[in-house]
Point group: C2
Chain length 461, copies 2
């Protein structure tokens, strides 16, 4: 593949060396695609196929991918939904359903100007990835060099550090996520703006990872804050005229419990707004479809017509798909089939029913969210020993310790004396010393006791 469209776009400048060089060799796939269409005898495919009645007695003479017959008993599903390899970029049906799902979400949520917009022409067909972790790995390897950096809040999912720094050897440039204002902690616009400008001054690009609802603080921008983030970033890129890659880690999209916050991804707001902005949406079935162990995620690129000749749009998209295909083939070959099949069946069955069932589950979380925030606020107000980061969604919240004790010590004490297990969220370099509470895994009736235990433990120090 020559990547002709790709090379003449602003995207090319933003790619890493690996991103520029990686490709999916056509080799075997080219020939087996052709053979599937043209051949009467097809000896291109590296799986065992044959007549089904060669392996089980009952069935008619049809050609299948062989499977161990007992599989039929172990799992009550057609083996063709489980056994064969899935295509490198994912099951075509699932990719279409997920694209439609993204388009639908954008239309039906309250996201600012993108609300009611039909974005189907503004995004690529999602490529299936092994969860969001692998999506972040892919985006990092495609865009960032070791000497470069990815911008992220100082408070972030701890696996960002493992993926970006430890595995990919790329740096993370942090900005303080919240600043104290007169009404309490607020999103730190100035901090974000400064690191983007710093990046543009040092490098020929900037890479930013955004995650709302945020892991682990639970922060979701209010509609006003979201508007400010969007206009600020667009203003900067138009001024510096350098590419800004924005990786949207949308793991918790839909898990929002407060009406004045944005209900869906900020990704939609950047679509086709500036040719300098390269928006990448990473979705995960893990939380969105409550299938953590399924390891199915999606990688979707937001398009801008300035990147290609209008009649070459599909070519551009194919080139991007080839890059991602090359990355997947050379690391994990392809994603597992059965969970893709399950998701296809979910979409096929009646997606509205699925969404209703999920909405009910989300409403259980919302009740916990409201209760725990209410009770924690009383502890804040009464003791002055903690603060709670702004939160409105997701699975977690962060309680900052305002007393001089390390979060690990505090959690250890809480566990030993009060049999209450929480995660210390602590990094002196990042000015972070708090406790992560996963209220996603605490029944509502236990929440008062949990907060009581925190209060008692605070009194012990």
């Amino acid at each position: 593949m020559e990547f002709i469209q790709f090379k003449s776009s602003i995207l090319w400048n933003a790619l890493s060396k690996l991103g520029k060089s990686i490709f999916l060799p056509k080799g075997i796939f080219y020939w087996s695609d052709r053979a599937t269409k043209e051949a009467e005898i097809n000896g291109t495919i590296g799986v065992m196929t044959g007549y089904e009645n060669e392996i089980i007695k009952t069935s008619e003479e049809k050609n299948v991918v062989f499977y161990i017959p007992r599989l039929r008993q172990l799992i009550n599903k057609d083996p063709s939904l489980i056994v064969p390899y899935a295509p490198i970029s994912g099951l075509p049906d699932l990719r279409k359903y997920w694209k439609n799902w993204i388009v639908t979400k954008c239309k039906t949520i309250n996201n600012l100007s993108s609300k009611n917009l039909d974005i189907s022409e503004l995004i690529t067909l999602p490529v299936v990835t092994h969860g969001i972790t692998f999506g972040i790995f892919l985006a990092t390897r495609l865009f960032a060099e070791p000497e470069e950096f990815i911008i992220s809040p100082n408070k972030r999912w701890e696996n960002y550090d493992s993926i970006i720094i430890n595995q990919c050897g790329v740096k993370i440039k942090s900005f303080e996520f919240f600043v104290e204002e007169k009404n309490g902690l607020k999103f730190n616009f100035k901090g974000l703006e400064n690191v983007i400008i710093e990046s543009f001054n040092k490098l020929n690009k900037a890479i930013l990872i955004l995650n709302f609802p945020h892991n682990p603080t639970g922060y979701v921008p209010t509609i006003e804050e979201a508007n400010n983030i969007v206009s600020m970033l667009i203003k900067i890129v138009e001024e510096y005229k350098k590419p800004l890659v924005i990786i949207f880690d949308d793991a918790y999209e839909g898990y929002v419990y407060k009406d004045n916050c944005i209900m869906g991804s900020l990704f939609y707001e950047f679509l086709s707004k500036s040719k300098y902005i390269i928006p990448i949406k990473l979705d995960g079935a893990s939380k969105e479809m409550i299938l953590y162990g399924g390891r199915i995620g999606f990688f979707t690129l937001g398009l801008h017509d300035a990147w290609y000749n209008k009649d070459k749009k599909q070519e551009f998209i194919d080139e991007f798909d080839n890059k991602l295909g090359g990355m997947i083939r050379s690391t994990i070959s392809n994603c597992n089939r059965i969970n893709q099949s399950i998701l296809v069946e979910m979409f096929k069955a009646n997606i509205d029913n699925i969404i209703n069932e999920r909405t009910k589950i989300i409403s259980i979380l919302k009740e916990r969210y409201e209760l725990i925030n209410e009770l924690l606020k009383q502890v804040c107000d009464n003791t002055g020993k903690i603060s709670v980061d702004p939160n409105a969604g997701g699975f977690f919240l962060i309680v900052n310790l305002k007393i001089k004790i390390s979060a690990s010590q505090f959690c250890d004490h809480l566990l030993n004396k009060y049999k209450t297990g929480l995660i210390p969220f602590e990094d002196p370099n990042e000015n972070v010393n708090g406790i992560r509470i996963a209220y996603s895994s605490i029944n509502k009736n236990l929440i008062p006791k949990l907060v009581e235990n925190i209060k008692l433990a605070l009194n012990d120090f």
Copy 2:
């Protein structure tokens, strides 16, 4: 983790920079493990849990990981086998079963001196990987630097190049796989020996990847050849006193159709034979359990007592597990659960039945293997225009073209005129110009026609 045992072993010298630096941060896992044991209120886990009767009417009040209720209809399985994350290193039961499977294979096959040996103390508990592709990626990243190289035959699975060269930026040093001897093509011992010595002269280690039954030639060493490979490699390392990492890509273990060839992995023969040899076994459920789309593989290290103090063996193993865990967490987080659950059920059900069913499927392949080799031999003898690489197992074989035409041209002609699809296996740099026939996907009754079409196509040139 301090990697104390690891650092004092010969393995440490063989690691890449990444291999030396990568680790699995204890953070969240340490605290959630403790909370699971010690806490009454557990707010450490980032999934949604609650009473099952909050989400469905019928069930009793027990705590579960929430799931979308419709999942129960879509797949007739307990959601707890599908929905939760699997541990980073894999389901403990599956790891134990697979270790036992390796031990059993070694005991019951005809592999030379290792036959009947109990190797359970000589190998680590297998770590679950996303197929063999990901195992190769892991091994490459752990051991090889960009300026170094991995030794492989000139004929090899084309994805080696994508993983090792394109993705990891490491070189491949090829040796000619076969040499012409008086009885036809034979394994090229001298070629292998030379590149290992070259590696030891240039680097402080050598890394070799071996794959028997071989993709794509189908080559399996005879017992005599296997003996020679083992003694040659052990002799070299003892002379040079440098570590030799041998990655055994055992994708097709068990698929052997000729009695005088080794029936199982050559891995067993290297266990505990020399402290300089670091044997890594990569298995895949893809072919072994006929579950290609399951994306479940295994990474197992062969141990040598000279690497650690005898009473620190478990510590050493834990350190190695931590390195692999760090690699997995920072790329794909963990492998999918349902296919691990299916494999556990297979082993639990009655593994002998499963093996019998698989044996029957393998015997179907064996019949195809015998027929196609017999017919191709006639074409070789009658036309002199082709040769067939030595083959005795796996899914494929390679027909070398001895006429002056590129394999792509030949395959194109074969497809256009004779509606027969095969894969050109062609690399001028590697002196390779042949056709890969996947007889795994050609019914026996079509094989005569297939060979006839090849013969006709040869006559056209």
